[in-house]
Symmetry: C2
Subunit: 211 residues, 2 copies
DNA sequence: ACCTGAACACCGTTCAAGT
DNA sequence: ACCTGAACACCGTTCAAGT
């Protein structure tokens, strides 16, 4: 939630309308999707006038950026937590963080679309969002480095390896969420099994090695 | 462009307002992004009244679906073309179609977001869109099968292998387009080199095999 | 069969005015 | 310093009316 250093609480309205907007925005987003996420609706949910949000965010896009950055911070935490339960084996850390990624996206489809769906034109420029996504990415980079140090993974540029791993888990997440996973019916889809399979494909490759 | 069987041309307005809407919609989309793509703007571009589009599409979403389906058909053609120039080696076919995928998404970022960004709530239900994406996916499935038959690729379920390949190239496309490729500066980014590397990672895996 | 234009309920953003 | 409410220019959709 990234509270500011000078924590002044409950001096006006809800104590902190800015945070209330991010939280309510996230709620509306996850319930109705980004198309239904309007500043006026968020203001309505909180119970302030439709103009109030613009005193804390210069535009709707700024609120979307704050929600997306929050999402990346949460993702970062989830992935870090996943690595912590496998302190023995760096390869298990790698697997666990990848699976945690897919699970997170599966649990928060609308948030994923906001975070990586190109809905925020200024996302390239915004430093807060950039930092938050970098922090999440760095969890992957660290696990890759550890796995390399343990001689489990090839010794290429860890950034490029981590990028490839990210592409793998994100592509898997997107295609599943947008309804393109075909191997089994949607009803009994085991997202963790799909994620695990994606990681194994990525780790072992698809090359046939000895006939 | 999937012209209807009874090809009646230029009887009213532009000859065929329905196709004109899809074409103009695609133009607006690629120029300004989906946020700026409104039925009223498309109508304005063509020069009809703002209500006219609704006589050919029951809603804005229906036009978006038509544009997305068109995109999948074009993608399918591009990938098929890529396989045709490598008739000798099925593995080269696999590589070529994957690289063509990434290149296509790189050339049409806004279209990609419409096709696979979850912007169309009813995309799960629409049969035309479903068929178009299936056809594109099947190009991958066929190349996987051919590569398996030539003993270049492991003998798992071709659907699952093709899905993994799709996830790999799509994830790569998304992350590059959304500005998360970190290994080199954005200015001199060689998208084909990135795509080729993604394919090789996917093919060989990242496992360290002998020290 | 196809198109127009007024109408309605929404939206983002601005801004003068209030406390 | 923060919030309200009227105003403006947009939007999707409906619908009676025109050809």
């Amino acid at each position: 939630m990234a509270r500011k250093s000078t924590a002044k609480v409950s001096n006006y309205h809800h104590g902190d309308l800015r945070n209330a907007l991010v939280t309510a925005g996230r709620t509306v987003l996850e319930r109705d999707g980004v198309a239904k996420l309007s500043l006026r609706e968020v203001a309505r949910v909180i119970g302030v006038s439709h103009g109030a949000p613009l005193h804390h965010f210069p535009s709707k896009e700024a609120l979307l950026i704050a929600i997306a950055a929050d999402g990346f911070r949460q993702l970062c935490g989830v992935m870090r937590d996943a690595t912590q339960v496998h302190l023995e084996d760096p390869l298990d850390q790698f697997r666990a963080s990848a699976i945690a990624y897919v699970r997170f996206m599966h649990d928060h489809p609308h948030l994923m679309r906001l975070m990586l769906g190109g809905l925020i034109p200024s996302s390239f420029a915004d430093p807060e969002l950039k930092q938050a996504s970098r922090d999440a990415f760095n969890v992957l980079v660290e696990t890759v480095k550890a796995a390399q140090a343990a001689n489990h993974v090839i010794h290429g540029d860890p950034m490029r390896l981590a990028f490839a791993a990210w592409a793998n888990v994100h592509g898997t997440s997107v295609l599943v969420l947008e309804g393109h996973y075909v191997a089994e019916p949607r009803a009994n889809l085991d997202i963790e099994a799909v994620a695990r399979r994606a990681v194994e494909f990525f780790y072992d490759g698809v090359r046939r090695r000895y006939e």
